[in-house]
Symmetry: C2
Subunit: 295 residues, 2 copies
């Protein structure tokens, strides 16, 4: 299959849903502008796409869950806005543009993040109107997203990350940060997509293990790109992890071992979903594609 | 009825649910401590109590929705933590204690707020396990809370509030801020309680109008207390609205007119729920109690 075409098609679906989501009459305008600024800053929509792909792999129709899947991009975007704040990672550049607080000020950036996060749950709950989604599955999927986005996942990981700055790297803490800060949302996006397709328990287990593997692979590649990539390609200031003495995979294991580890994780991810039908082909291709990405 | 005893009983229920909610093994510890610090700082639990009281007024059993109602206190607490941040209202004192960022730093305070907000949705969705709550009602209630807490409610109101600092007060903007920043969450707490009791449409309409009236009354009294109350009684720095040239009811209409307006709103709130049975007595008494509060 042509994975690039698949990713492009799904990205366009998500983009077109999000494009007109915030209506012109939404007030205050500055808050809306601030949210839209970051939401339309050129994200790859990876998490929504994973949600759609897992849904399809479990025999669901991705059109049914487009709003739900798109809501995950609001959660991802909120996390980037808050992470970039001066009190957190203090980044000036994101996806080649000034960060949200650089444009709208810190107060509005905090509120834009709060607004995106909360609206994501509104979008999810709003799927109640879709007759093809079972209520039980929807509530399970909402619970999953709240779990992986919050203190048991992303927020917990980010907290550990800022607590660990300027401390000596150790593998246990690094593993905690990776698993929670990035891995949880990736794995949760997949699991939510599977829930919404009323997946079986074995299917859920496989999707979960696939998610854990590609989640970690994604983060390792991210850390390598921060060292090897160029600011132009990534659209953010590279080398910032080293400057901030961030705990990263390459910092502990070196670049070569890190890349090898990422390759092993991708192989494992593809292996654990071996019993899935052809419809899981995008999941397999996304895993392979992840290794090759340059941004 | 003895409204003080009622408020005390319900507050204790919410407090005891929240007390052990964050388990000792939740990591990172600093994040947990930061959330618990603000959550246990002596809030009146007004919004959870309103949710429980509306549920009872519509013939529900408040035990069924204790976790859901308590989750609203997490949302309220998150909003206080973020509002107090230097980039927002820059307050040093809240409920007689140093504000969250004064103790844990700005980064951790932002994350504690993010964590509380997200965990609130987890707590709500976790009500799926309660056999007495219908799934449709639960999803409606979750949607309601996301609506009133986010850009269509509290976040929108707070954004307008910080955008309006140091501008000339006008009644339209003030009304927008009050309705969204405080009114929405109060009204939404009541409506969610009603949804979860499978209320009828006329019941929902009455509860909604009750909420709009007491929501505004609550905010007006709050603004008056900021001028007339003492820092000791309120546990926060008084007079801060005037210093920051915040748009408030007394600033536009004067204290006497404002108090009169609050009284009218409470009378109206009691009137719109006149057809409710005895079980709505707490709602009526809470409305009256609101006028008399000193903190």
């Amino acid at each position: 299959m042509d994975i690039k075409a698949y990713l492009k098609e799904k990205k366009e679906l998500v983009d077109s849903f999000l494009k007109d989501y915030f209506t012109p009459d939404l007030l205050p305008k500055t808050l809306k502008d601030s949210m839209v600024y970051s939401l339309s800053a050129g994200g790859k929509r990876l998490r929504p796409i994973l949600c759609l792909a897992a849904h399809e792999a479990c025999d669901g129709d991705s059109e049914d869950i487009l709003p739900f899947a798109s809501s995950i991009e609001l959660i991802h975007t909120y996390s980037l806005i808050h992470d970039d704040l001066p009190a957190m990672d203090n980044d000036d550049l994101r996806r080649g543009k000034p960060t949200n607080h650089k444009v709208y000020g810190e107060g509005m950036a905090i509120l834009a993040g709060d607004g995106l996060l909360t609206e994501a749950f509104f979008m999810m709950a709003n799927s109640l109107s879709n007759k093809n989604i079972k209520n039980t599955a929807l509530i399970r999927a909402i619970k999953e997203m709240a779990f992986v986005a919050g203190i048991h996942g992303m927020v917990g990981g980010q907290a550990q990350d800022i607590l660990s700055e300027n401390t000596e790297p150790d593998s246990e803490t690094l593993s905690f940060i990776h698993k929670h800060k990035t891995g949880a949302l990736i794995s949760g996006s997949l699991r939510a997509g599977a829930f919404l397709a009323n997946c079986s328990k074995p299917e859920l287990n496989s999707i979960t293990r696939y998610g854990e593997n590609i989640g970690l692979a994604f983060q390792i590649i991210d850390d390598i790109l921060d060292i090897e990539g160029s600011t132009d390609e990534l659209g953010k200031t590279t080398g910032s992890d080293v400057r901030k003495k961030k705990m990263t995979y390459p910092a502990i294991y070196g670049i070569e071992s890190s890349r090898k580890k990422a390759e092993e994780l991708v192989t494992e991810a593809i292996f654990v979903i071996k019993n899935f039908p052809d419809k899981a082909e995008p999941l397999r291709e996304i895993a392979r594609y992840m290794l090759a990405r340059r941004n």
